[in-house]
């Protein structure tokens, strides 16, 4: 008598009662399914966000006046001085170990006109210094880039995104044409290559001007500039962040004890913010699922107990024919674990399938949360052992004489 024989006895008796087996499995399926489906969707979103971010700016970080998401607090929003374009140029001089240092400002919800055609009022207008082409990872499909001289002379020139080409210049070459933005004529000098969509949202509906031109249109004062910095590679990225922080403190004349009055915004900080949001959701989902699994476990225990009573005679027969206590115990325990395991596998497959299906509506990429699959299976087996032990113990300790007499 070895474990594989006990295993085959256990599987045999599960197969012999398909309805009971099926119902018990169902309970586990629901529990595991709920964990996996939530974790799959979260993983998909996270993956998309991280991928979108890393495409946006590799080895790049931004220096802004305020923390754009959390933590900055309204107190600082009012008191921090704006970052000025001069500070950006000063930083460019000082920060010699950075590859590019650029300044940019954005205006949203703008209409762009060409002749008698016009776009919806959803165009983003960026004002940049020449380096921002690099830090934003923009490629010029045709035409030329914005140069530092364009910035110096606040030239009325612009680069346009693909969406604007599609909308205003369906049939003609836009380079050399003049568009109007808020009444100001701007000559198109280049077209920026299409960028991969993030969350199904096009990122090509923008135009780019020299930052000086932008400031003459939308104002120079009362608006803070964003500085974007790109390091040469991954290795010196953190060094550059550190150096930039130091220089910004000098530029903004902060005394040693004072906190930073600017915020460094990097891929890592963004990802950690995403994790700040998804973390509690994950913990919540885990808690709900564990409750669901405990409910399933109680269900398993209930059914196993009924099954022990129902099979009292069978246990008596097995004992009379020479089954030891431990073999009966093992048989019932294996039955419980196999039930949970099968339920777990079905739950995981359903969860992955439906999670990816639901996630595809959010335009997120397919994902398999491997860590949660492993956690799920472990939980299942654990539930099987925990809730299978008592019924198995009860079965193993039945008195064979009583059990044989049981009607």
């Amino acid at each position: 008598m070895n474990i594989s024989q006990t295993f085959s006895i256990a599987v045999q008796s599960l197969r012999n009662n398909k309805l009971r087996t099926g119902l018990t499995i169902l309970g586990v399926v629901v529990g595991i399914f709920s964990i996996i489906v939530i974790m799959t969707i979260i993983t998909m979103l996270q993956k998309s966000i991280e991928e979108g971010l890393s495409q946006l700016n590799k080895y790049t970080f931004q220096i802004q006046k305020n923390d754009p998401t959390f933590g900055g607090g309204p107190r600082f929003r009012e008191t921090r001085p704006d970052i000025k374009i001069e500070e950006a140029y000063r930083l460019k001089e000082l920060l010699t170990n950075a590859k590019y240092v650029a300044a940019e400002q954005w205006q949203f919800g703008i209409v762009v006109k060409y002749g008698n055609k016009e776009t919806n009022p959803n165009i983003q207008v960026a004002g940049i210094t020449a380096d921002a082409i690099k830090t934003n990872n923009w490629n010029i499909e045709y035409g030329r880039e914005i140069r530092e001289t364009d910035v110096q002379y606040s030239a009325n020139v612009c680069l346009i995104g693909k969406d604007i080409v599609d909308k205003l210049f369906p049939n003609i070459n836009p380079v050399g044409q003049t568009i109007r933005v808020g009444g100001r004529p701007l000559q198109v000098i280049g077209v920026i290559e299409a960028q991969p969509a993030l969350f199904g949202q096009s990122r090509d509906n923008y135009i780019v001007l020299p930052i000086t031109t932008w400031q003459s249109m939308y104002g120079k004062y009362g608006r803070s500039v964003n500085i974007t910095v790109m390091s040469y590679g991954k290795e010196d990225y953190n060094d550059v962040i550190e150096a930039a922080t130091g220089y910004m403190r000098i530029i903004r004349k902060l005394s040693p004890g004072e906190p930073d009055n600017f915020y460094i915004y990097s891929n890592e900080s963004m990802i950690s913010q995403v994790n700040d949001i998804t973390g509690p959701i994950k913990i919540g989902a885990l808690a709900v699922s564990i409750i669901a699994l405990i409910a399933a476990g109680v269900g398993i225990m209930n059914i196993m107990l009924v099954s022990v009573t129902e099979r009292t005679r069978e246990i008596g027969i097995r004992k009379a024919l020479g089954a030891r206590k431990t073999w009966i115990l093992t048989q019932f325990l294996i039955e419980a674990v196999v039930l949970c395991f099968i339920g777990g596998i079905i739950g995981i497959l359903l969860g992955l399938g439906i999670g990816n299906f639901a996630g595809s509506f959010l335009n997120a990429q397919t994902a398999i949360p491997v860590d949660w699959v492993i956690i799920g299976i472990t939980l299942c087996v654990l539930i099987g052992v925990i809730f299978g032990t008592y019924p198995a113990y009860k079965a193993a300790n039945l008195d064979p004489i009583e059990a044989l007499r049981y009607e």
Binding site: M1, Q12, A320, I401
Partner: protein, 240 residues
Amino acid sequence: MNIINIEHITKIYKVGLEEVHALRDVSLRIDKNEYVAIMGPSGSGKSTLMNMLGCLDTPTSGKYEFKGVSVSEMTDNELAKIRNKEIGFVFQTFNLLARSDAVHNVELPLIYAGIPTAERRERAIQALIDVGLKDRLHHKPNELSGGQRQRVAIARALVTNPSIILADEPTGNLDSKTGEEIMGLFHEIHEKGNTIILVTHEEYIAEHAARIVRLKDGLIESDERVERRYIPKIKTTVAQ
């Protein structure tokens, strides 16, 4: 050589506050190839004695030796082993696994004995052929008649080549004709050299045995060798 040697055993059950003396003082020896019937009215202690003989229960006091080994001091696991290897049970209610076919039912004690799959299948099939169920190997108990079910149970009892066959009212749930057939089968098994202990309260069933032990109120009332009733050979019982 005696297989069973019981000396002055007693068994006391506690039912609530009351003590029930199921066996008061019983001594019994059973030799190899004996055919013993244990008789007595209900409450005489014959079921208790049978459980004791079948190593399902241990005595409160006294000595029980099975093939020279003391059963009284055995652990649960040792009792399980001796039941598996030395004793073949045949019950009144057949006690087959309802959802398993005949072969699997007969295989069961061999599984617990650790016999490899191929060998135990072969032995189970042979045992079923020996009791005349060649055509019923893969029938489940509910697809078999009462007599056929009892034959499966007998095949299961024989398949381990036990030292004793312990039959508790084996014909109690059968009509008299089928009962006679089963008794004929026991007769053949005895002829082949097996030791049979038959527990019954029916005189005409006990008459098949060569020795009748009568119990009353937990004591042996009589123990005598008897003239065996003639068993007509019924064709269907002969192994095909």
